[in-house]
Protein backbone atom coordinates (compact mmCIF):
# COMPACT_ATOMS: atom_id res chain seq x y z
CA UNK A 1 0.00 0.00 0.00
CA UNK A 2 1.01 3.53 -0.65
CA UNK A 3 0.05 6.72 1.08
CA UNK A 4 0.27 9.55 -1.41
CA UNK A 5 0.13 13.24 -0.56
CA UNK A 6 -0.78 15.51 -3.46
CA UNK A 7 -0.33 19.30 -3.28
CA UNK A 8 -2.03 21.48 -5.88
CA UNK A 9 -1.38 25.23 -6.12
CA UNK A 10 -2.03 27.93 -8.66
CA UNK A 11 0.90 28.33 -11.04
CA UNK A 12 3.51 30.95 -10.20
CA UNK A 13 2.43 33.31 -12.97
CA UNK A 14 -1.29 33.03 -12.17
CA UNK A 15 -2.62 35.62 -9.74
CA UNK A 16 -4.04 33.98 -6.62
CA UNK A 17 -6.88 36.19 -5.34
CA UNK A 18 -7.34 34.11 -2.16
CA UNK A 19 -3.63 34.16 -1.40
CA UNK A 20 -3.58 37.93 -1.93
CA UNK A 21 -6.49 38.44 0.46
CA UNK A 22 -4.78 36.33 3.12
CA UNK A 23 -1.52 38.21 2.62
CA UNK A 24 -3.42 41.48 3.16
CA UNK A 25 -4.94 40.08 6.36
CA UNK A 26 -1.51 38.97 7.63
CA UNK A 27 -0.15 42.43 6.91
CA UNK A 28 -3.01 43.99 8.83
CA UNK A 29 -1.91 41.78 11.76
CA UNK A 30 1.53 43.45 11.33
CA UNK A 31 3.23 40.40 9.85
CA UNK A 32 4.89 42.62 7.31
CA UNK A 33 7.59 40.04 6.64
CA UNK A 34 5.10 38.03 4.60
CA UNK A 35 5.96 38.56 0.95
CA UNK A 36 3.63 36.09 -0.71
CA UNK A 37 0.83 33.65 0.12
CA UNK A 38 -0.31 30.90 -2.22
CA UNK A 39 -3.38 28.90 -1.35
CA UNK A 40 -3.77 25.41 -2.65
CA UNK A 41 -5.25 22.00 -2.03
CA UNK A 42 -3.93 19.04 -0.16
CA UNK A 43 -5.15 15.56 -1.02
CA UNK A 44 -4.27 12.28 0.63
CA UNK A 45 -4.69 9.11 -1.39
CA UNK A 46 -4.34 5.54 -0.24
CA UNK A 47 -3.41 3.37 -3.20
CA UNK A 48 -3.06 -0.37 -3.42
CA UNK A 49 -0.05 -1.89 -5.07
CA UNK A 50 -0.58 -2.94 -8.67
CA UNK A 51 1.53 -3.78 -11.72
CA UNK A 52 1.48 -0.10 -12.60
CA UNK A 53 4.40 2.01 -11.54
CA UNK A 54 3.13 4.11 -8.62
CA UNK A 55 4.92 7.27 -9.73
CA UNK A 56 3.50 7.03 -13.23
CA UNK A 57 0.04 6.26 -11.84
CA UNK A 58 -0.06 9.29 -9.54
CA UNK A 59 1.28 11.60 -12.23
CA UNK A 60 -1.45 10.40 -14.58
CA UNK A 61 -4.15 11.08 -11.94
CA UNK A 62 -2.80 14.58 -11.37
CA UNK A 63 -2.70 15.36 -15.08
CA UNK A 64 -6.16 13.95 -15.78
CA UNK A 65 -8.15 15.12 -12.78
CA UNK A 66 -6.50 16.26 -9.58
CA UNK A 67 -4.92 19.38 -11.07
CA UNK A 68 -5.91 21.62 -13.97
CA UNK A 69 -2.51 22.16 -15.53
CA UNK A 70 -3.71 25.27 -17.39
CA UNK A 71 -3.59 27.17 -14.10
CA UNK A 72 -2.30 24.77 -11.47
CA UNK A 73 0.98 23.08 -10.53
CA UNK A 74 1.11 19.86 -8.56
CA UNK A 75 3.65 17.89 -6.62
CA UNK A 76 3.33 14.73 -4.63
CA UNK A 77 5.04 12.55 -2.06
CA UNK A 78 4.73 8.79 -2.09
CA UNK A 79 5.19 6.77 1.07
CA UNK A 80 5.01 3.01 1.21
CA UNK A 81 2.99 1.76 4.18
CA UNK A 82 2.15 -1.64 5.57
CA UNK A 83 -1.56 -2.45 5.14
CA UNK A 84 -3.41 -2.66 8.46
Amino acid sequence: MYKVKVYVTLRENVLDPQGNAVKGALHSLSYNEVKDVRIGKFMELVIEKSERDIDELVREMCEKLLANTVIEDYRYEIEEVVAQ
Partner: protein, 228 residues
Protein backbone atom coordinates in the same frame (compact mmCIF):
# COMPACT_ATOMS: atom_id res chain seq x y z
CA UNK B 1 -35.04 22.39 -34.04
CA UNK B 2 -34.64 20.08 -31.07
CA UNK B 3 -32.49 21.10 -28.10
CA UNK B 4 -31.10 19.02 -25.24
CA UNK B 5 -30.61 20.60 -21.82
CA UNK B 6 -27.99 18.49 -20.05
CA UNK B 7 -28.72 17.99 -16.37
CA UNK B 8 -25.96 17.12 -13.91
CA UNK B 9 -26.42 16.54 -10.19
CA UNK B 10 -26.21 20.14 -8.96
CA UNK B 11 -27.32 21.92 -12.16
CA UNK B 12 -29.70 24.69 -11.17
CA UNK B 13 -30.32 26.73 -14.33
CA UNK B 14 -31.70 23.80 -16.31
CA UNK B 15 -35.31 24.87 -15.79
CA UNK B 16 -34.57 28.45 -16.91
CA UNK B 17 -32.85 27.09 -20.00
CA UNK B 18 -35.79 24.79 -20.75
CA UNK B 19 -38.23 27.68 -20.27
CA UNK B 20 -36.23 29.96 -22.58
CA UNK B 21 -36.31 27.40 -25.40
CA UNK B 22 -39.82 26.07 -24.96
CA UNK B 23 -41.81 29.15 -24.00
CA UNK B 24 -39.85 32.11 -25.31
CA UNK B 25 -38.16 30.64 -28.38
CA UNK B 26 -40.94 28.14 -29.15
CA UNK B 27 -38.68 25.24 -30.13
CA UNK B 28 -38.54 21.63 -29.00
CA UNK B 29 -36.48 20.86 -25.90
CA UNK B 30 -35.83 17.92 -23.59
CA UNK B 31 -33.89 17.40 -20.38
CA UNK B 32 -31.07 14.86 -20.73
CA UNK B 33 -29.57 13.30 -17.60
CA UNK B 34 -25.77 13.20 -17.29
CA UNK B 35 -25.59 9.41 -17.69
CA UNK B 36 -27.11 9.43 -21.19
CA UNK B 37 -24.84 7.94 -23.81
CA UNK B 38 -26.24 9.38 -27.01
CA UNK B 39 -27.38 12.77 -28.26
CA UNK B 40 -27.94 11.88 -31.90
CA UNK B 41 -31.61 12.92 -31.88
CA UNK B 42 -30.75 16.50 -30.86
CA UNK B 43 -29.75 19.41 -33.07
CA UNK B 44 -28.37 21.65 -30.35
CA UNK B 45 -26.88 20.99 -26.90
CA UNK B 46 -27.20 23.33 -23.92
CA UNK B 47 -25.10 22.97 -20.77
CA UNK B 48 -26.80 25.01 -18.06
CA UNK B 49 -25.37 26.77 -15.04
CA UNK B 50 -25.29 25.54 -11.49
CA UNK B 51 -22.88 23.68 -9.28
CA UNK B 52 -22.43 20.28 -10.87
CA UNK B 53 -21.13 17.81 -8.28
CA UNK B 54 -21.06 20.62 -5.75
CA UNK B 55 -18.11 22.23 -7.57
CA UNK B 56 -15.96 19.66 -5.74
CA UNK B 57 -12.26 19.76 -6.63
CA UNK B 58 -12.83 22.47 -9.29
CA UNK B 59 -15.94 23.79 -11.03
CA UNK B 60 -16.80 21.35 -13.79
CA UNK B 61 -13.92 18.98 -13.01
CA UNK B 62 -16.10 15.99 -12.11
CA UNK B 63 -18.95 16.61 -14.58
CA UNK B 64 -16.44 16.50 -17.37
CA UNK B 65 -16.07 12.74 -16.85
CA UNK B 66 -19.80 11.89 -16.92
CA UNK B 67 -20.89 9.59 -19.74
CA UNK B 68 -22.87 12.27 -21.59
CA UNK B 69 -19.62 14.14 -22.21
CA UNK B 70 -18.54 11.54 -24.76
CA UNK B 71 -21.74 12.24 -26.68
CA UNK B 72 -21.08 15.98 -26.36
CA UNK B 73 -17.57 15.49 -27.70
CA UNK B 74 -19.06 13.63 -30.67
CA UNK B 75 -21.68 16.33 -31.25
CA UNK B 76 -18.92 18.94 -31.16
CA UNK B 77 -17.00 17.04 -33.84
CA UNK B 78 -20.16 16.80 -35.94
CA UNK B 79 -20.45 20.58 -35.83
CA UNK B 80 -23.66 20.79 -33.81
CA UNK B 81 -24.16 24.01 -31.84
CA UNK B 82 -23.12 23.54 -28.20
CA UNK B 83 -23.67 26.33 -25.70
CA UNK B 84 -22.26 26.22 -22.17
CA UNK B 85 -23.41 28.89 -19.75
CA UNK B 86 -21.65 29.60 -16.44
CA UNK B 87 -21.00 26.14 -14.96
CA UNK B 88 -21.63 24.82 -18.48
CA UNK B 89 -18.73 27.02 -19.67
CA UNK B 90 -16.56 25.74 -16.82
CA UNK B 91 -17.34 22.14 -17.84
CA UNK B 92 -16.42 22.86 -21.49
CA UNK B 93 -13.09 24.30 -20.30
CA UNK B 94 -12.36 21.31 -18.08
CA UNK B 95 -13.28 18.99 -20.95
CA UNK B 96 -10.85 20.78 -23.22
CA UNK B 97 -13.58 21.67 -25.73
CA UNK B 98 -12.61 25.30 -25.12
CA UNK B 99 -9.17 26.60 -24.13
CA UNK B 100 -8.28 28.17 -20.78
CA UNK B 101 -9.47 27.86 -17.19
CA UNK B 102 -11.42 29.73 -14.52
CA UNK B 103 -10.05 31.33 -11.35
CA UNK B 104 -11.94 32.71 -8.38
CA UNK B 105 -13.33 36.20 -8.98
CA UNK B 106 -10.78 38.89 -8.11
CA UNK B 107 -13.05 40.18 -5.37
CA UNK B 108 -13.49 36.62 -4.01
CA UNK B 109 -17.21 37.38 -3.97
CA UNK B 110 -20.05 35.57 -5.64
CA UNK B 111 -21.47 38.23 -7.96
CA UNK B 112 -25.09 38.14 -9.08
CA UNK B 113 -26.25 41.15 -11.11
CA UNK B 114 -26.92 42.32 -14.67
CA UNK B 115 -23.80 43.35 -16.60
CA UNK B 116 -23.17 45.07 -19.92
CA UNK B 117 -21.59 43.01 -22.65
CA UNK B 118 -20.24 43.97 -26.04
CA UNK B 119 -20.86 41.62 -28.94
CA UNK B 120 -17.33 41.29 -30.33
CA UNK B 121 -18.15 38.90 -33.13
CA UNK B 122 -21.60 38.67 -34.70
CA UNK B 123 -20.43 36.32 -37.42
CA UNK B 124 -21.04 33.15 -35.42
CA UNK B 125 -23.98 30.75 -35.32
CA UNK B 126 -24.72 32.06 -31.82
CA UNK B 127 -24.66 35.79 -32.47
CA UNK B 128 -25.78 36.48 -36.04
CA UNK B 129 -28.99 38.22 -34.93
CA UNK B 130 -26.98 40.77 -32.88
CA UNK B 131 -25.31 43.77 -34.47
CA UNK B 132 -21.51 43.89 -34.43
CA UNK B 133 -20.50 45.89 -31.35
CA UNK B 134 -24.00 45.81 -29.88
CA UNK B 135 -24.11 46.48 -26.13
CA UNK B 136 -26.43 44.07 -24.36
CA UNK B 137 -27.51 43.50 -20.76
CA UNK B 138 -27.31 39.95 -19.42
CA UNK B 139 -27.10 38.83 -15.78
CA UNK B 140 -24.10 37.05 -14.30
CA UNK B 141 -24.13 34.83 -11.20
CA UNK B 142 -20.80 33.26 -10.36
CA UNK B 143 -17.91 33.06 -7.93
CA UNK B 144 -15.43 31.65 -10.42
CA UNK B 145 -15.66 33.51 -13.70
CA UNK B 146 -12.19 34.99 -13.81
CA UNK B 147 -11.12 33.61 -17.18
CA UNK B 148 -7.46 32.81 -17.72
CA UNK B 149 -5.36 31.41 -20.53
CA UNK B 150 -1.69 31.70 -21.46
CA UNK B 151 -0.45 34.43 -23.78
CA UNK B 152 -0.15 32.23 -26.84
CA UNK B 153 -3.77 31.10 -26.43
CA UNK B 154 -4.99 34.66 -25.92
CA UNK B 155 -3.17 35.71 -29.06
CA UNK B 156 -4.87 32.91 -30.94
CA UNK B 157 -8.31 33.81 -29.53
CA UNK B 158 -7.89 37.40 -30.70
CA UNK B 159 -6.44 36.43 -34.07
CA UNK B 160 -9.28 34.01 -34.88
CA UNK B 161 -11.99 36.33 -33.47
CA UNK B 162 -12.86 33.67 -30.90
CA UNK B 163 -13.67 36.22 -28.22
CA UNK B 164 -17.40 36.60 -28.78
CA UNK B 165 -18.37 38.68 -25.73
CA UNK B 166 -16.41 41.11 -23.60
CA UNK B 167 -17.56 42.87 -20.44
CA UNK B 168 -18.39 46.46 -21.35
CA UNK B 169 -17.46 49.12 -18.82
CA UNK B 170 -16.40 47.48 -15.62
CA UNK B 171 -15.09 43.94 -15.51
CA UNK B 172 -16.92 42.15 -12.68
CA UNK B 173 -14.51 39.27 -12.10
CA UNK B 174 -11.05 40.28 -13.34
CA UNK B 175 -11.10 38.04 -16.43
CA UNK B 176 -8.22 38.27 -18.88
CA UNK B 177 -8.83 40.86 -21.61
CA UNK B 178 -12.39 41.40 -20.23
CA UNK B 179 -13.42 38.06 -21.70
CA UNK B 180 -17.02 37.05 -20.98
CA UNK B 181 -17.49 34.40 -23.68
CA UNK B 182 -15.37 32.51 -26.20
CA UNK B 183 -15.98 30.15 -29.09
CA UNK B 184 -13.90 27.23 -30.37
CA UNK B 185 -11.91 27.56 -33.56
CA UNK B 186 -14.47 25.61 -35.55
CA UNK B 187 -17.20 28.00 -34.38
CA UNK B 188 -19.77 25.59 -32.95
CA UNK B 189 -18.91 25.48 -29.24
CA UNK B 190 -19.57 28.65 -27.24
CA UNK B 191 -18.92 29.15 -23.54
CA UNK B 192 -19.97 32.24 -21.62
CA UNK B 193 -20.28 33.25 -17.97
CA UNK B 194 -23.37 35.52 -18.35
CA UNK B 195 -26.78 33.84 -18.46
CA UNK B 196 -28.68 34.55 -21.71
CA UNK B 197 -31.48 32.22 -20.55
CA UNK B 198 -32.19 34.62 -17.69
CA UNK B 199 -32.70 37.50 -20.12
CA UNK B 200 -35.40 36.32 -22.49
CA UNK B 201 -38.33 38.53 -21.50
CA UNK B 202 -38.70 42.20 -20.51
CA UNK B 203 -40.41 40.93 -17.39
CA UNK B 204 -37.01 39.58 -16.32
CA UNK B 205 -35.37 42.97 -16.85
CA UNK B 206 -33.90 42.23 -20.26
CA UNK B 207 -34.73 40.24 -23.37
CA UNK B 208 -31.25 40.61 -24.86
CA UNK B 209 -30.43 36.92 -24.36
CA UNK B 210 -33.20 35.78 -26.67
CA UNK B 211 -31.27 36.85 -29.79
CA UNK B 212 -28.63 34.26 -28.97
CA UNK B 213 -31.15 31.44 -29.12
CA UNK B 214 -32.76 32.99 -32.21
CA UNK B 215 -29.34 33.06 -33.87
CA UNK B 216 -28.86 29.33 -33.23
CA UNK B 217 -32.27 28.52 -34.73
CA UNK B 218 -31.62 30.82 -37.70
CA UNK B 219 -28.33 29.02 -38.37
CA UNK B 220 -29.96 25.63 -38.09
CA UNK B 221 -32.84 26.52 -40.43
CA UNK B 222 -30.44 27.95 -43.00
CA UNK B 223 -28.28 24.84 -43.01
CA UNK B 224 -30.80 22.05 -42.39
CA UNK B 225 -34.17 23.06 -43.72
CA UNK B 226 -34.34 22.42 -47.44
CA UNK B 227 -36.70 24.76 -49.19
CA UNK B 228 -38.62 23.11 -51.99
Amino acid sequence: MKFAVIVFPGSNCDVDMYHAIKDELGEEVEYVWHDADGLDEFDGILLPGGFSYGDYLRSGAIARFSSVMKAIQKAAEEGKPILGVCNGFQILLEAGLLPGAMRRNNSLKFICRPVSLRVENNETMFTSVYKQGEIITIPIAHGEGNYYCDEATLHQLIENRQIVFRYHGDNPNGSLDNIAGIINEKGNVLGMMPHPERAVDQLLGSADGLKMFQSIVKYWRETHVVTA
